[in-house]
Amino acid sequence: MSEQLLQYLLSGLSTGAIYSLIGIGFAIIYNSTGIINFAQGEFFMLGGMSTYYFLSVAHLPLPVAMLLAVLLTTAVGVLFERLAIRPLRNASPLILVIITIGGSILIRGIAMLIWGKDTHSIPMFTGNEPLTIGGATILPQHLWIFGITLLIIIINRFYFYNTVSGKAMRACSHNRRAASLVGIDVKRMVLFAFAISSAMGSVAGIISAPLTMTSYDVGIMLGLKGFCAAIIGGMSSGIATVFGGLLLGVLEAFGAGLISSGYKDAIAFIILLLILFIRPQGLFKKAETERV
């Protein structure tokens, strides 16, 4: 029985790590612009699908394909900000949120036209011999997922607390007006936010594609799960959202294993609703009167 529980835990953590990365993407954009970017899941999809494309159709080596995929997705993120978000800077957040939904449908549609409706897989980074840990098994790819997620979180932390532009971005998230008064180019920070979160989304898509496979529509569900993670973490672009993602993944795995696998997605969304009703500021944050 303890082996089973360990297996649920490991499965949950690896799924949760992916949720975390997508969740942080949501949070970064939310903090710099005040909008929920529902195209976040599409960045995840673009990461996986374009890696597949560069790898299997253009026949590039895996590291090059991954790098190009991140660059391409980042370019799409930047373009999206330039073309869809920036021209409407004065629109209300609600309108912008709806624009991001439209954007996600557009990106998904274009991906479908270019790459077709099939599911594709990309090879594991290093072998597919399972490793045994205390009776539970994981794949080398899971270690990649944990490692890369950890690395991204560290870089993220360093960027936001130790660099000028990172600090400027945090300033924007606290008070955009005050930030611009002290000479921070808020528009540029918004652009940065989109670049960073699209890059992170694509990395999440790339590292999970060898395990979960990818197709033009994988972004919908994972985008929502990432959103749940960000809500649990109170839209923090740091460690709270990571915990949110991991918690969600683990609860899903235990729920599927111990209660019923039919309720797996229901568990995620019940948590989302509960948090929104009871602790809208997130699970780990003290209540504030004003979010900014």
Partner: protein, 379 residues
Amino acid sequence: MGKFVSFVFALLLIATATVAQAAPTIRIGGLFSVTGPASFLGEPERNTLEMLVQEINARGGVNGSKIELFVYDTQGDATKAVQLATKLIKNDKVVAIIGPSTTGESMAVIPLVQRERIPLISCAAGVKITEPVKAWVFKTPANDQVAGEKIFNYAAKKRQKKIALLTVSDSYGSSGREQLKVLAAKKGFTIVADEVFSPKDTDMTPQLTKIRGANPDAVICWGTNPGPAVVTRNMRQLGITTPLYQSHGVASKKFIELAGASSAEGVTLPAGKLAVYDIISKKDPQAKLLREYDQAYRKKFGVEASTFGGYAYDGFQLIVAAVKKSGATPEKIRKGIEQVRGMVGVSGVFTMSPTDHNGLNLSAFEMVRVTKGDWVLAR
């Protein structure tokens, strides 16, 4: 006088018009979900139907009448399917309809065609489409239960008794799950685990860990890609060596590609013969037709033919057979289809009757096993 002349002219016009229409076209409708979530069904169905109509018209049509095809995209939406079916019947005046692609859409269209008395040949697999039998409704895909029965017969031969089910939570999976449970009870198997996963799930190790705890003799997974491929990989990851059966829903090379040849090794499933026509016996009545269909489809569309396209293929052949036999009115087509005996198609050999509007039996499937990244017949 002037009036008389124009009257004569009018008569002449009518006369010449009827002469020009000596052989009226046969109008056939197609309703497929070419775009939307079920586009993997609708696209090959539409392609196949258009290809067949072109071919047959190039050879002079059926009984000297050309076929005129009206195809609409339902986008997988039941409401749209009903609207478009109405349009086919009222505006385009078709004599028969092929489609829709999904069970939900088919069920929505059935009351309409029953009322309007137009034969409908559904391309969806749901068992309730033709059970109970409805006068004007036929379907070409084999019932899921036929595939399930094939699996259980095979499992019985291997003396497997305790079965674990792992099914996808969409309509395909839940209908499969119901059928499998009924069949298991009927054939004396015990279901020791009954797990589900959702269509876009990316990790099924929790379900499989639970299944391992129940210690089954075999696992039956019922779903369409990518879920079953993930299940196959996860089983390998967890080191579960219990025999794994998949459904006919993944009977294509794509499944082996997605699951990876090493993970998929040994997976056994009932396959429509199209997927394996190059390994079935040359004497199989379908072998020649399957090869021709696949080659023609590849030549025209650049991809391999799919079982789904085959559903439209068979639907069209049923109509052609009925028109040749009885005539091209809706009632004659309906009667003609009911009289089809031993018609070789893509999905199987059809023998219709007033009490069987599907007409397929166990021979529609072949049990195959993945060996070194390819299919071999499972004995």
